[in-house]
Every structure is written in C-alpha cells, then in structure tokens.
C-alpha cells in the first residue's frame, strides 16, 4: 500500500556539454506558422491479445523566409533613387516542436499488453515530426514567405530613401 510518496528530482544541469559551436546565419524570417497534428497509434500485432493505443497532440512552430545575403542589387541609380533588387528563393528556416507542446490525450493499454516505453513514445513523436515535414510543401508557406519578404524589403528600401523600387 502506498500511503505517501516523497518525490525528489535532482537535475545535474552543470554536467558538461558534449559539443557546441557558434555559426553565422543570414536569414530573414518573414512568416511564422503554428501547426498542430494529432498523433494516433493503435499497436496491434497478430500474436497479441488486448489493446495498446495512444493519442497525443503536438504543436509545431515553423518559420520561413529568405537568405538575406543572397539579396542581389541588379541596378541602382543614386540620382533618381531607383533600385532593382532580385529576391532569393524562400526557404524553411526552422521547424520547432517544443517538448512542452506535446500533450498525451489518451494512453490505453490492456492488462495483457506492455505499457508504452518512453523510447516508443519518442518514436511516435518522431513519426509526427516526419509527417509535418512532409506536409509543409502543401501548405503554401514558402509562397507566403516570399510575398512577405518582398513587402518587407520594399518598405525598408523606402525608409532608406529609395523612390522607385523594382523587385524581381
């Protein structure tokens, strides 16, 4: 009989980092999307008896934009303040699935089956991550990122005193 539980959690956060490195980046993020997906698994084998199911929801933060260093000035006239800029192709900058945005909605395991291990739970989340990555191209995110990048660069060049702006 468990009448009381003393829970103590000790985190050795001062332990050394395995590897680290700093790098330059030059991307201009122009859109941010919050995506969500329900992950549903029914683990049934022909030789097992009883159900083993899990239902979880994950949220992902996705940012897309353009490589700022690839912004190319095709022509520039100081007198008339006219400029022609070539925008680079848009790209996905990052996909972030924060661990605190993974919610276990339902875990159902019958008596004759093993509980889901933490390794298996992570595997299911990896499948969810993969499924989201596969769907990105269907969501029109890159087109939106490109449109916003054009808008941002245009207004920014106006602030810098340009009068005729052509973005190709």
């Amino acid at each position: 009989m468990v009448s009381s539980i003393l829970f103590s959690c000790q985190n050795k956060l001062d332990k050394s980092t395995i590897e680290s490195r700093l790098q330059n980046l030059q991307d201009l993020g122009t859109v941010e999307y919050t995506l969500s997906k329900v992950l549903s698994i029914d683990d049934e084998q022909w030789y097992t008896v009883g159900e083993r199911k899990v239902l979880m929801s994950i949220k992902a933060n996705l940012k897309a934009g353009v490589d700022f260093s690839q912004l190319e000035i095709l022509s520039f006239d100081d007198k008339s303040k006219s400029i022609e800029v070539k925008m680079p192709e848009s790209k996905i900058i990052l996909l972030d699935i924060p661990p605190n945005k993974v919610k276990y909605e339902l875990v159902h395991v019958d008596l004759l089956r093993d509980e889901f291990t933490n390794e298996e739970m992570n595997q299911i989340q990896v499948l969810g991550e993969k499924a989201i990555r596969e769907k990105i191209s269907d969501l029109g995110i890159l087109e939106e990122a490109h449109k916003n990048a054009k808008g941002f660069v245009e207004s920014w060049l106006k602030m810098l005193g340009m009068k005729k702006i052509k973005i190709s």
Binding site: V2, G29, I93
Partner: protein, 219 residues
C-alpha cells in the same frame, strides 16, 4: 533397434519426427536472424493514422536570423521514491499495522542535440529609427534576442531509462534540455555574435545602395 525402441515400440518414429522438427525450428531461427522479414514474430512498425496538419495561426514577422548555436547536452536525473508499506508479518505477530519506508532510486539520462537561433527583430523598425544625412545613414536596431531553441523529437536519444518515469515527466526533462542549450548559447556569446553579424550584414547592404558611411546602433 535400440534399447529405447525395445522398451517403447514405435518410439523410433517419434524420435525421427522430433529430430526433424528441431532441425526445422533451428534452421528457421538461424534464417530469421539473417533475414528479419522472415520472422513471423517481428513487430510491425508503428503506423500513424492519417490525420491533418492544422494551421492554428500564421503571422508576418521580420526576424533577421544572424547567428546560431549548436550543442549536444546531457540531462541526467535521479529521483528517489519513498513508499510507506505495511510489514505483513510484523502486523500479524503484533496484531496491529506495522509500517515501514521502502525507497527506490530511478535514473533517467537524456541526450539532446539542438540549435539556438538568435538575431534582431526588425518588425518594429520605424522611419524614425533611420536618419539620413547626405551619404551617412544611421540606423537604430533592436538588440539581438534568442528567437528559438530547437530540439525536435528526432534530436533526442534516451540513454538510460531505469525505474518508473511517466511520459509527462520525460517531456519535462526534454524541456530542461532545451532550456539548457538556450542558457549555454547566451553564456557562450550567441547574442554578441548575432549583433556583430547583423552589423556587418546591414552595413554591407546599406553601403551597396550608395551610402558611404553607415552607423548601426543597437537599442
């Protein structure tokens, strides 16, 4: 006919069948170890049900990502569970409930590898932040911040999972790994590097549109 055959008539056939069965079973096990697809007890991989990816929110941003920090971190956690149990034998002897404390140690070690992204948020940039005096351009930019620290599920390795750890507890530990990378990135100068890089990017770009002198101030 051997001794066994004399003692148990007809046992020769049974021995033959048993021998062949053993040979077939051993042969199958060896074959299945080389070709796992032949193993009828092989676990079917998890298969996600086809659910939609929902766009919950979308917004325009103007974030200049100018530096990134990559790290692999370890979160090593131990918890001690102390349970109050009833000593059945002593309770029977003494005719009253005798309790005792039973403790157990649970360890969990997680390795996470991820990136911390930093840069300058240009969303709030207004006309007043840009001063133009002939060929001099002074621009005020917000100082660098960490935009995101990313460790996705595929970036985690569970190294030790001993004892009883609920899935929710594991998610909390994963979040700790994220916080750890973010803290280390700031400690190792990610924000300074981001400001430095933004300064160069901005200066180069503004110079390329005709300004001779560019001054970037971080606010």
């Amino acid at each position: 006919m051997g001794l066994l055959g004399k003692l148990f008539p007809g046992s020769g056939l049974i021995i033959k069948i048993a021998t062949y069965t053993v040979i077939v079973v051993v042969g199958y096990i060896i074959l299945a170890s080389f070709f796992p697809d032949l193993n009828v007890f092989k676990r079917k991989e998890f298969n996600l049900k086809n659910t939609a990816v929902i766009i919950e929110e979308s917004k325009n941003i103007a974030e200049l990502f100018s530096a990134t920090y990559y790290a692999e971190v370890v979160v090593d956690t131990t918890k001690v569970l102390i349970e109050e149990k009833v000593d059945v034998m002593s309770s029977l002897i003494n005719l009253e409930e005798v309790d005792y404390n039973d403790s157990s140690i649970h360890e969990f070690v997680l390795i996470g590898h991820g990136h911390s992204y930093a840069g300058n948020n240009l969303q709030s940039l207004k006309k007043e932040d840009i001063t133009i005096q002939d060929s001099l351009c002074i621009i005020k930019l917000p100082t660098a911040t960490v935009f995101n620290t990313v460790i996705n599920p595929s970036d985690f390795d569970i190294f030790i999972d001993e004892g009883n750890w609920s899935p929710e507890e594991v998610q909390t530990l994963k979040q700790l790994a994220v916080e750890k990378i973010k803290a280390q990135a700031i400690n190792d100068g990610l924000l300074e590097k981001a400001n430095k890089r933004t300064l160069k990017l901005m200066t180069d770009f503004i110079k390329s549109i005709g300004f001779k002198k560019v001054k970037v101030e971080f606010i």
